[in-house]
Amino acid sequence: MDTIQQALAERVAEEHRHHGKALFFWVWGALLAMTAIEVYLTYQNLQPVKMLTILLGLSFVKAALIIGYFMHLKYEVSRMKWLTMGSVVACLILMTIFFFPDAFRILHLGVK
C-alpha cells in the first residue's frame, strides 16, 4: 500500500476506535426485535397488501441500520454517502418503473 492509502486506512481505523461496543449491541437488538415483529405479524393473518407494506417498511429500516452502523456509512464523508446511496436508489427506481404497469395487479389478483 502506498503512503496515501496507508494514511487513509489509519485515519479510518482511528475513527473506528472511537465507537463503543454498546452501540453495536443496541443495533443488533433492534434488528432482532424488528425480525420478531415481522414473524409475529405473519401469524396474525393480516390483509396481504397491509402485510407487504409493513414488512417492506421494516426491511428498509433494518437495511438503513445495517448500512449506517454496521457498514459504517453514517460516518463516511457526505460525498460517499450521497453518491453510493443515490446511484443504487436511482437504479432500483428504474427497475420499479419497468415493473410499475403491472404493479397494480397486486390489488385485484392479489397476494393470496
Binding site: M1, T3, I4, Q5, A7, L8, A9, R11, V12, A13, E14, E15, H16, R17, H19, K21, F24, W28, L31, L32, T35, E38, V39, L41, T42, Y43, N45, P48, M51, L52, L55, L56, S59, K62, A63, I66, I67, Y69, F70, M71, Y75, E76, V77, R79, M80, T84, S87, V88, C91, L92, M95, T96, F99, A103, R105, I106, L109, G110, V111, K112
Partner: protein, 264 residues
C-alpha cells in the same frame, strides 16, 4: 471534520474523493453492482408472485421457525463481524481471529439450515427439472404438481435463494482466508469432502459442494502467489461484504418466506 482531515494527509497525489482508501471504495462499487443483481432477482420473484395464479404458499410453521433462526444467525454474524473489525483496529490479533471465526460459524449454521430447508422443499415436490428426483417421495409429495403448473416458483425461488446461499458460502471462505490464511486451505478441503460425501447423490448439494473445491484451488493460488498479513483495512473490507449478505437477506426473508407462509 472528516473532509478537512483529508487535506492533512501529505502526498504527491490529490486527496481521495471519498475520503477513504481505494480497497474500500472498490468493495463499495462491487456491492452496489451486486445489489442490482439481487434487485433484479427479487423483482423477478415478486413479479411472478403477484401475476401468477395458484402461486404456492409452501412455508409451514416449521419452515418459518427455521428461516427465523437462519435470520438470527445472520444478524448475530453481523454483530460478531463488527466486533472483529473493532478488535483489528485496536491491534487485538487474537480477538480479531476469534470474532472472525465466530462469524464464520454463524454463516455456516445459516448454510446448513438453508440446505435443510431446500431438501425439505425438494422432497415435498417443489423442485427444478435439473434437480434429480428424490427416491420414494414422488407419490406422497404435497406440491408434486406445482413444478408443472407454476414453474416460475421453483425458478425464481431457487434462483434467488441459491444466489444468496452462494454469496454466504463465498463470504465464509473469504473470512476464513482473512482469519487463518494458508491454514484455512486444509479446512476448506475437509469441508468439501464432508459436503460431497455426506450428501446423497440426488441432493443438489452433492454437486454444489464442488464450489468449495474450486474455491480451495483459487484461494491456494492467491495465497501462494501473494502471501500477506491481512491488516485492519482488509478486515473492514471483508466486513462490508459480509454485512451486505446480511442486508440482502433482510429483504428475502419477508418477501419470500413471510409473504408465502402457510399458517394454519
Amino acid at each position: 471534520m472528516a473532509e478537512s482531515a483529508l487535506h492533512d494527509i501529505p502526498s504527491a497525489y490529490e486527496p481521495s474523493l471519498f475520503g477513504t482508501y481505494s480497497k474500500k471504495i472498490g468493495m463499495w462499487l462491487f456491492l452496489l453492482s451486486d445489489s442490482l443483481t439481487f434487485g433484479a432477482l427479487l423483482y423477478a420473484y415478486s413479479y411472478g408472485r403477484i401475476s401468477t395464479e395458484g402461486w404456492p404458499t409452501p412455508f409451514h410453521s416449521q419452515s418459518i421457525i427455521n428461516a427465523t433462526i437462519m435470520t438470527a444467525f445472520l444478524l448475530t454474524s453481523s454483530l460478531t463481524m463488527v466486533l472483529a473489525v473493532r478488535a483489528s483496529v485496536h491491534g487485538d490479533a487474537k480477538g480479531q481471529r476469534l470474532w472472525l471465526i465466530a462469524t464464520m460459524l454463524c454463516g455456516t449454521g445459516f448454510i446448513v439450515l438453508h440446505g435443510r430447508e431446500w431438501s425439505n422443499l425438494i422432497a415435498e415436490g417443489l423442485t427444478l427439472p435439473m434437480f434429480p428426483k428424490v427416491p420414494g417421495h414422488e407419490a406422497a409429495s404435497e406440491f408434486v404438481n406445482v413444478s408443472k403448473t407454476v414453474p416460475q416458483f421453483g425458478a425464481t425461488f431457487f434462483g434467488l435463494t441459491g444466489m444468496h446461499m452462494l454469496h454466504v458460502t463465498l463470504g465464509v471462505i473469504y473470512l476464513g482466508v482473512v482469519a487463518l490464511r494458508r491454514k484455512f486451505i486444509p479446512i476448506l478441503l475437509v469441508l468439501w469432502l464432508v459436503a460431497w460425501l455426506g450428501t446423497p447423490v440426488y441432493s443438489p448439494f452433492h454437486y454444489g459442494a464442488h464450489v468449495l473445491l474450486i474455491a480451495a484451488i483459487v484461494c491456494s493460488i492467491i495465497l501462494w502467489l501473494k502471501p500477506k498479513v491481512y491488516d485492519s483495512s482488509d478486515v473492514e473490507v471483508a466486513g462490508l461484504y459480509w454485512h451486505f449478505v446480511d442486508l440482502v437477506w433482510m429483504f428475502i426473508f419477508p418477501l419470500v418466506y413471510l409473504m408465502s407462509a402457510k399458517i394454519l
